[in-house]
């Protein structure tokens, strides 16, 4: 298992340049938050790391490196890198039960797919009455429950790295807090390296160790979460932090 996964100088183009020389390094046991406004290139950067770029987007420069060795994203995806997606509602097939989804993942990974293994995975993400959940379809479940199953699927691979693209954005405040507790717990017990894409600086404050700020396809600032909140340098970072603090009636000290 690699202990470090790095994106090096990723440049993506379609009819125009979408990201330019993006470099990020994930370390096992640490959460790197990627923040920025909508359209800044956060999700495309994730897609490049996973080798799932949308049609028409080409990578014209850069590479993915595991412990310093170049690797293809396809070789890592699903085995060393697991994904938690934004919208659990559309990520599940409405024609299949949760058990079918989980068995599919187990078979792809060559892992036991008996009910006991599935129930253990659901219990690990804090789902109550897992036996019942196995028989449910996505439309019979709340967003928070679905997101827990998605995390259970990501954990089945025991991947060293997790890409979580806006994992709590569509949930209400209580469901969000519980999913963040679960992710924190996963960091403490399994210590994967996590790339957390979010636009909410509250989520960053709750979970991240390091932060990279993106604007217009470029990383404009990078640092530890403490230094970034205490002394943001770039105007975009300052704007993000001050708008966030304003929600709490606090101000950014100049």
């Amino acid at each position: 298992m690699p202990s470090q996964l790095a994106l090096r100088n990723i440049t993506l183009e379609a009819d125009r340049c979408l990201t330019e020389n993006v470099s990020l390094t994930l370390h096992r046991g640490r959460v790197l938050a990627l923040v920025g406004g909508s359209g800044s290139g956060k999700s495309l950067t994730c897609a490049a790391a996973l080798g799932v770029l949308p049609a028409g987007v080409h990578q014209t420069n850069g590479s993915l490196q595991a412990d310093g060795q170049p690797v293809s994203p396809q070789a890592l995806r699903g085995l060393n890198v697991a994904t938690i997606m934004q919208n659990p509602r559309s990520a599940f097939n409405p024609l299949h039960t949760m058990a079918t989804h989980m068995r599919e993942t187990c078979l792809a990974l060559g892992k036991p797919a008996d009910d006991a293994a599935l129930i253990a995975a659901l219990t690990a993400v804090g789902l109550e009455s897992p036996e019942r959940v196995l028989g449910l379809y996505s439309f019979e479940m709340s967003g928070g429950m679905l997101q827990r199953v998605m995390i259970a699927l990501a954990l089945l691979s025991e991947a060293a790295f997790i890409v979580a693209d806006e994992p709590t954005t569509d949930l209400d405040a209580v469901a969000q807090a519980r999913i963040l507790d679960l992710l924190e717990n996963i960091m403490l017990t399994r210590a994967p390296g996590m790339l957390l894409v979010t636009h909410d600086m509250g989520v960053v404050a709750r979970l991240a160790d390091d932060v990279a700020v993106m604007e217009n396809g470029k990383i404009v600032e990078q640092g530890s979460v403490g230094s970034l909140f205490a002394a943001p340098q770039h105007p975009v970072t300052r704007q993000l932090i001050s708008a966030h603090l304003a929600l709490y009636g606090m101000e950014l000290t100049p």
Partner: protein, 262 residues
């Protein structure tokens, strides 16, 4: 002064009860938050308040008249006076119309303005919500989610309502835009005394902008209290939402592993 009064309202879809015995008064000029988790009945109550649906039981009164039996002219005044901004901007705007047409619609139907006055008002509304005038000829699919939500907000403000209902209408905006909309609403409140009903599950917005908060849980009103700093909820539903508030600043946490040196 009392703007809207909800009296013993219950509502259900098929046989599934959504609201049960809700009573609530909204006063002019106040900022009231309706707080609750997904599925607690907040949005249904909003739909009843603006008359999109009629409650199965109970009454909603505006200026002493129940919404169920309101004369036609009074209904027009009611629609001018109470405006709603929906959560999902994309399904709330006709994709075939330009932004200019979308903003002109309430002006044509609910106010008596000349064509020229309408265009002046449209430009003012765009400026109020910090949108560029060049977007007036665009259609909804050409706008970003945040831009479209601000068009919907401008449309609701077009008739200078006395009560604006925002159903999770700020949730889809990023923080910088959210802060801008809150500044605008605060300004309008000081200038014209517009009342706002904020439907949300995010307590941070409630603490910043509202004077009173009504907590809903499972179709009931769990509590109705003044906003204090800090907020002191007595209901379990309120306390659970309060505990869920994300931290403002990163907390020192045990070092997980040392970052490796490259």
């Amino acid at each position: 002064m009392n703007l809207l009064t909800v009296s013993g309202v219950s509502h259900h879809y098929q046989h599934h009860g959504v609201l049960e015995n809700i009573s609530l008064a909204i006063n002019s000029g106040e900022s009231l938050a309706l707080l609750g988790r997904s599925g607690c009945g907040k949005s249904t109550l909003a739909r009843l308040l603006v008359g999109l649906e009629s409650p199965a039981d109970g009454e909603i009164y505006w200026q002493g008249k129940t919404l169920k039996k309101m004369p036609r002219l009074m209904k027009k005044a009611f629609r001018r006076d109470i405006q709603l901004v929906f959560q999902d901007a994309i399904s709330a705007a006709n994709p075939r119309k330009t932004v200019r047409d979308i903003l002109a619609e309430p002006l044509r139907h609910l106010l008596n303005l000349s064509k020229q006055e309408q265009q002046v008002r449209i430009k003012q509304l765009m400026t109020d919500v910090e949108l560029d005038l060049s977007l007036l000829e665009h259609r909804p699919p050409q706008l970003s989610g945040g831009q479209l939500q601000r068009v919907c907000l401008a449309r609701a403000l077009a008739t200078r309502p006395t009560l604006l209902i925002l159903d999770e209408a700020l949730s889809s905006l990023d923080r910088v835009l959210q802060a801008g909309v809150i500044r605008l609403l605060t300004k309008l409140q000081q200038q014209s005394g517009i009342a706002c009903l904020f439907i949300t599950h995010d307590l941070r917005l409630v603490e910043r902008f509202c004077q009173r908060v009504v907590v809903m849980d499972n179709g009931h009103i769990a509590e109705d209290i003044a906003v204090t700093h800090p907020l002191r909820f007595t209901s379990l539903a309120g306390q659970v939402l309060q505990e869920a508030v994300l931290p403002a600043l990163p907390r020192p946490r045990p070092e997980r592993t040392m970052p490796c040196n490259v």
